[in-house]
């Protein structure tokens, strides 16, 4: 493939692969905890870290990681205090992060890499080999922690009060989750940019939770969707010349809309079918029984009646006879007996 012939695109695809896998694995817990915007906030804080890196001529990825993790810990400590001002404190921290980043970057001497847009919206093709190595370490560490502590992070995200009551280390787990988010933010910075990081954590999970039956399934499905949209978006952006971050996120949102619409249609169809049957029942002229004209179908301990292709199971209630629907299955031919 042409896209794989260039070194910068190989590094870009590697980076997008890691981001696509890691961001949803962490994001699912944020969705469960109803803290979807935490990633955005830490992205803001990371910008100050980037600026400090540029000013001190150290690698921005490292300083951004330190700033984001510090921000994450501060946020959890503020939340743990449980004051109503916690919300305002978070807002102040977030705005302070982005304002500090913008001002500090403007102070950088000319000739430095101070391209603000590259950090805000991503510049995947500038990923260096050293970046890929750092991203690889972050990926292994984040996925390792999620594997090790996933069930506990789920417990705290699902019902923090219960977790506290039974003696799980709630504050520690919350700080760990926030630190994972911070690490993911820094990992995603190059690929989707600080302003779009949250999208890659949240949107794959929003798609997966409509399709999955269990939390575990949601995590795996979200990672698969993240991986797919991230790599596909990066590849597409190479051919269309559009920014990788925006392309990936638009792709993920398109998938979200598609799945949401499909699920809505499926539910509406099921509702309509149910209503139609309810009307059949309401207009029912007789109680099923011997000689009612509907084929009787023995079913375990009772008899169903084949009524226009679906099975009715009559049972007495206080208010009269009630009919349960017994499955979509057609009655086995040999069991059908006409009275």
């Amino acid at each position: 493939m042409e896209v794989l012939e260039y070194g910068f695109m190989q590094r870009a695809l590697l980076a997008s692969l890691m981001v696509g896998l890691v961001a949803p694995a962490v994001g699912v817990f944020l969705v469960q905890r109803r803290l979807s915007l935490l990633g955005d906030g830490l992205g803001h804080v990371a910008l100050t870290g980037v600026a400090i890196g540029v000013l001190t001529s150290t690698a921005p990825v490292g300083t951004a990681l330190v700033a984001a993790v510090l921000g994450a810990v501060v946020i959890e400590l503020v939340r743990a205090r449980g004051r109503t001002s916690g919300d305002v404190a978070l807002a102040v921290l977030f705005y302070g992060g982005i304002a500090g980043g913008v001002v500090l970057l403007s102070l950088a001497p000319r000739g430095q890499a101070t391209n603000l847009e590259a950090y805000l919206f991503g510049a995947i093709t500038t990923t260096t080999t050293a970046d890929v190595a750092v991203f690889g370490v972050i990926t292994v560490v984040v996925l390792g922690v999620v594997w090790l502590l996933g069930s506990r992070l789920y417990a705290v995200s699902d019902d923090e009060e219960y977790a506290r009551a039974v003696g799980l280390p709630v504050l520690v787990l919350n700080v760990v989750l926030a630190a994972l988010v911070a690490a993911t933010v820094v990992l995603s910075m190059r690929v989707v940019g600080l302003l779009l990081i949250s999208a890659l954590m949240i949107v794959p999970s929003a798609v997966a939770q409509q399709l999955a039956r269990s939390f575990r399934q949601t995590v795996y499905l979200a990672c698969a969707i993240g991986l797919l949209t991230s790599v596909a978006g990066t590849t597409a952006s190479y051919y269309t010349g559009t920014p990788s971050g925006g392309t990936i996120v638009l792709l993920a949102i398109a998938l979200f809309l598609l799945v949401t619409a499909a699920v809505a249609v499926r539910e509406a169809t099921a509702r309509r079918r149910h209503r139609r049957r309810a009307e059949v029942h309401a207009a029912h002229p007789h109680e099923h029984g011997d000689g009612c004209g509907h084929p009787a179908v023995p079913h375990d301990d009772h008899v169903d009646y084949d009524h226009d292709g679906h099975l009715h199971a009559p049972h007495r209630t206080g208010a009269g006879v009630h009919y349960d629907e017994h499955g979509e299955h057609a009655p086995p031919a040999e069991q059908v007996g006409r009275p």
């Binding site: 699912v28 969705v31 469960q32 109803r34 090790l148 502590l149 069930s151 506990r152 789920y154 417990a155 995200s157 699902d158 019902d159 009060e161 219960y162 977790a163 506290r164 009551a165 039974v166 003696g167 799980l168 280390p169 999970s205 939770q209 999955a212 039956r213 269990s214 939390f215 575990r216 399934q217 949601t218």
Partner: protein
Amino acid sequence: MTAVRLRDASIGYGDVAVVQGVDLAVADGEAVAVLGSNGSGKTTLARGLLGLATVLGGEVEVLGAPVGRPRERGRIGYVPQRHTVSGAVPATVREVVGVGRLARLGPFGRPRPADRAAVQDAVAAVGLADRLGDPVASLSGGQQRRVLVARALAAEPELLVMDEPTAGVDAASQDALATVLAGVSATGTTLLVVTHETAALAGVLTRAVVVDHGRIAYDGPLAGAESTHDGHHHPEDTGLPPARGYRQDQPRVTTDGGR
């Protein structure tokens, strides 16, 4: 041993004491109803034992250790007053109840076969054995409440604290709960049930503690509590859904743990 001991305890939130100067001792294996009207402080009293409300004065000891100190994990079960379990992300009955087992596993431990068996037994005990792999969102309200009970039972706790387990639950589920609690109580687990109504659990709970205006107004046999409790019963407390015919589903409950 004493499962719960309060000496001149004040419990509240922030700096505001909701419960004041309470003395209470619950022996191991007792089954106690904590009664009182809305705002009496009965829930705060229970939350104080769990570390969810602040002990502002006096002493509160649970299972021999002051509240808030690190203690052996997994000895307390808790059923919060919550009507649904389903969160933003789907989860199966097995996953939700599995959380109840986590506290016993230590910081990094992974569930062993014995832990998985405990989860299955707890789910079977509340009559949902055939729903183990189903998403909790697909269960009725009464069934979801029973999932929360199973989560607490999975820890095989020494002290089980329940907050309004019968509120808004149909009669059949209330009877099922009474059967489950009778079994739990028979194994020596201490029960502390915060409730408005004792009728459904009268066969299980033997002692009543009536809380009124943050103080204990009655402490004695459950039968003697009714008049005291009713004396402080305000009309607005009856805003509960009618117990009978509230839901149409008829839950199947196995009392032998489904084995």
